[in-house]
């Protein structure tokens, strides 16, 4: 079994990938220049072959790594560091992406899949210079990642001889099934944005910024955004279920790295509607796409190089400088193209009034851009201060919470009005008319909040505006379904409203749980119930579970005399690390979150249990589900599907029977 083939085979696959991506890039560029010069598209035939080869190489490398991990091939350093005989098969499979080198393989696999799908999708249009340029960009990005994996971040490096077992992945990555879903889904989001980035570069290079390339890639961008959103939320869920501090978001650098491209991506999916409708903001949208991709690379650099732990850490491995160089190239190319071409390609035209849907989308863009700036500044500020003044400061939750609260409230406020705004111009009479019932929803939400005892300006504002915005979104969906039946649920605007509903649920739940979480340390004695916030907690006993890799002590706590919940402390024998596992009782109004605090003395018959009462947490996950559903609905073609060849600013024929319905 341990014939050690996986290492050399995997390395060979990576080398094939490097070659395929390099040749593919060259072929694409040559083909682009050929077809742009009007010559016959000779080289274009090669593009699909190299794409297929690159995909096959990425797939083979991943298979080799999984094979090595599954067969416990300890000749590889990576398996020595993260594999173990006692890790269950499920977690062992996921152990491949539990650390840097393996996670780059996952990224490469996602890139390979994207390459293959894009090539297949445009197989008949490869002689279009713009498509060729886009393929070139994708090949170059894939080349960089193959080089990273072949070079500094080599997962197939040989380990020390004679090692027969390893510690396994980090214990935090071994006790929840989310580890199987969160990284792949998140990476699909990151990598998904490579495609619109490639087309944006191609549009700038060829100067064809006004055409249907936008519409071609819109579904791709929507899915990438959707995967990124769900990936981020799954990360929050993992933090909640596994880490034991009962929160979902801690503003740590890794989380911020995932949030940054999401913010610019969200700005993009809104402002691109202005481009589709009015033909405006072309260069701005291109800039947003370039920024989004650059931020995914910056985020990878920040989290993979160890820079944010200490600005001096990244010089210790080759990965940091490599990623930083790649980031520099991406930014230089992007800025260069914008500087060179941007002004010549700007669309003419004007936006008539700030009180219009276009105006709302522009305000949305400003808010999201400022939010992205705040997150970026807060994340890199300690780096800069340490580099310049050689002292360490922390910029963490208090800063981000203080900054994000007013921004979030402003975004909620915008969500109240924007859905009812028509294109071009709105009269105040129209606003008064359309916003009436949504406003009453907001008032109702405020009343309900006050009745259940909420206090504090920020959360109350969030609840009021959440109700208002929810009313506005629901109004649009109801009107659309009234006019068009089930078709009123699909299409960008309607699907978007459902996504908005999801976002509102998440915002309200986040606000409630951040402001009104109550916690208490209970010292429970067996058989003696204690009460807190209207619930009784009784320690029934202890349970010990030992297996090959860990020994867990569970405290069985009965909540309100009912079923026992078992928070645990697990000692992973290989790593000598103690990991606390919370146990959560979920209801529609609040979660009861229990953790077992060390030191745990089973024979004393007492346990220190920390209880958190967290309001409305379940609604966060419901909101996430709504976001996913809404994204899928938005990807369906709406009633009026534009053909890619329609000019983007042609007026839409007006059908008087559909005066008030959704039109995109």
């Amino acid at each position: 079994m341990n014939d050690g083939l996986a290492g050399p085979l995997g390395r060979a696959a990576l080398l094939v990938g490097v070659i395929a991506a390099a040749f593919g890039a060259v072929a694409s560029i040559v083909s682009a220049r050929e077809t742009a010069a009007g010559e016959e598209a000779r080289t274009a035939r090669l593009i699909p072959r190299f794409a297929a080869l690159a995909f096959a190489a990425a797939f083979a490398a991943m298979v080799a790594m999984e094979y090595a991990m599954i067969t416990r091939d300890f000749s590889l350093q990576y398996v020595q560091d993260h594999g173990s005989r006692s890790t269950p098969a499920f977690y062992n499979f996921a152990a491949v992406w539990s650390a840097l080198e393996g996670s780059i393989l996952l990224w490469i696999l996602a890139l390979g899949v994207s390459l293959a799908v894009v090539t297949w999708r445009y197989r008949r249009k490869l002689n279009d210079p713009m498509i060729s340029w886009a393929m070139a960009v994708m090949f170059i990005v894939t080349l960089f990642f193959f080089l990273l994996s072949f070079g500094p971040a080599n997962p197939f490096a040989e380990g020390a001889p004679g090692v027969t077992d390893g510690p396994g992945p980090n214990p935090l990555l071994q006790n929840h099934i989310l580890v199987m879903f969160h990284p792949p889904i998140l990476y699909l989001g990151y990598v998904g944005f490579t495609v619109p980035f490639a087309f944006a570069i191609a549009a700038l290079v060829t100067g064809r910024v006004g055409e249907g390339w936008l519409i071609e890639t819109r579904r791709w961008t929507l899915f990438a955004w959707g995967f990124l959103s769900i990936g981020i939320i799954l990360g929050g869920w993992w933090s909640y279920e596994v880490l034991g501090w009962s929160g979902v978001w801690a503003w740590d650098p890794v989380e911020n790295a995932s949030l940054l491209p999401w913010l610019t991506g969200t700005a993009y999916i809104h402002s691109v509607l202005v481009q589709e409708r009015r033909g405006m903001l072309r260069v701005w949208n291109l800039s947003l796409l370039l920024a989004t991709f650059s931020l995914t690379i910056l985020g990878t650099f920040l989290t993979r190089s160890g820079v944010v732990n200490s600005v001096h850490a990244f010089s210790q491995s080759g990965i940091g400088p490599f990623l930083l160089t790649f980031f520099g190239i991406v930014v230089a190319v992007s800025l260069g193209l914008i500087a060179w071409r941007g002004d010549a390609l700007r669309s003419p035209g004007a936006i008539d009034s700030p009180v219009s849907r276009e105006g709302a989308f522009l305000a949305n863009n400003v808010l999201f851009s400022v939010f992205a700036f705040v997150v970026l500044l807060g994340t890199v500020f300690p780096l800069i201060v340490e580099a310049l003044q050689d002292r360490q400061i922390s910029v963490a939750e208090p800063f981000f919470d203080t900054m994000s609260t007013p921004l979030g409230i402003a975004m909620l406020a915008l969500m109240c009005i924007a859905p009812v705004l028509p294109w071009r111009k709105a009269s105040e009479e129209l606003l008064r008319e359309r916003l009436f019932w949504p406003a009453w929803c907001g008032i109702a939400a405020l009343v309900v909040s006050l009745v259940v005892g909420a206090s504090g300006l920020a959360p109350l504002l969030a609840f009021t505006l959440g109700g208002f915005a929810g009313g506005a979104a629901l109004r649009q969906v109801v009107l659309a379904t009234r006019r068009q039946g089930w078709r009123g649920l699909v299409g960008r605007a309607n699907g978007g409203m459902i996504v908005h509903l999801g976002v509102i649920l998440i915002s309200v739940a986040l606000s409630a749980s951040n402001s009104y979480t109550k916690s208490q340390d209970l010292r429970l004695e067996t058989g003696v119930p204690a009460s807190f916030e209207g619930h009784t907690f009784e320690l029934i006993g202890f349970k010990e579970e030992t297996d090959a890799r860990s020994s867990a002590v569970k405290a069985l706590v009965s909540i309100d005399g009912g079923q026992a919940y078992a928070p645990a402390v697990t000692k992973f024998t290989n790593m000598g690390m103690n990991v606390g596992t919370p146990s959560v009782k979920t209801t529609f109004t609040h979660d009861i979150y229990l953790t077992l605090e060390p030191p745990v003395k089973m024979d004393s018959g007492t346990a220190r249990i920390k209880v958190y009462i967290k309001p409305l947490i379940l609604w966060m996950w419901i909101g996430a589900g709504l976001m996913a559903i809404g994204t899928i609905l938005a990807a369906f073609p709406g009633k009026r599907r534009r053909r890619p060849t329609d000019p983007t600013s042609a007026p839409v024929p007006v059908d008087p029977a559909e005066e008030d319905s959704e039109r995109v």
């Binding site: 004007a350 936006i351 700030p354 400003v366 201060v385």
Partner: protein
């Protein structure tokens, strides 16, 4: 639209709604949510301090042993009831320099507070300028010569363009 419907959504009604909301918000904002329990004090203090062995995680979030120890100390001091929150924060910060999670508003650190505000102002200011430019452009009057030129190139007499109707 019937007059009854239009009077329901008229300005006075909206103004009344606005006043109701403001009153309720003020009431809710100033409402006393009860004295904070010891656990809440401990949590609040813990959220202001960084765990010394982690990468910027707060003591509230971190499960590291050092964070546990500091949480215990905070709980001990809160239970003793002799120090105010700020004093306890200062006690920990003195012994673990750099653990204050909120950057101070002095010197270089203040930039982290000022720059976002600057960017926000620039953003909305730029937007306002853009709207003004667009409005100015739109207000440019077509001269007779312009109208004639357009008619000539269209090969028609002046045709009125249908404006986008009030639609979504």
């Amino acid at each position: 639209m019937s007059t009854k419907q239009s009077s329901l959504k008229s300005w006075p009604v909206w103004a009344a709604m606005g006043i109701i909301v403001v009153v309720m918000l003020v009431f809710g904002a100033l409402r006393d949510s009860g004295p904070s329990t010891q656990a809440e004090r401990v949590d609040a203090i813990a959220q202001r301090l960084a765990c010394p062995t982690c990468d910027g995680e707060s003591i509230y979030v971190s499960r590291a042993p050092a964070a546990e120890a500091i949480r215990n100390e905070i709980a001990r001091q809160v239970a003793a009831g002799q120090s105010a929150d700020n004093e306890i924060v200062a006690y920990i910060e003195q012994r673990f320099p750099g653990s204050l999670l909120l950057p101070r508003a002095e010197g270089v650190d203040s930039l982290v507070w000022i720059l976002p505000v600057v960017v926000l102002v620039l953003g909305f200011g730029g937007l306002a300028l853009a709207f003004r430019k667009w409005r100015d452009e739109a207000e440019a009057q077509a001269t007779e010569a312009d109208v004639a030129l357009v008619a000539e190139s269209l090969g028609t007499t002046e045709s009125s363009e249908k404006n986008d109707r009030d639609d979504d």
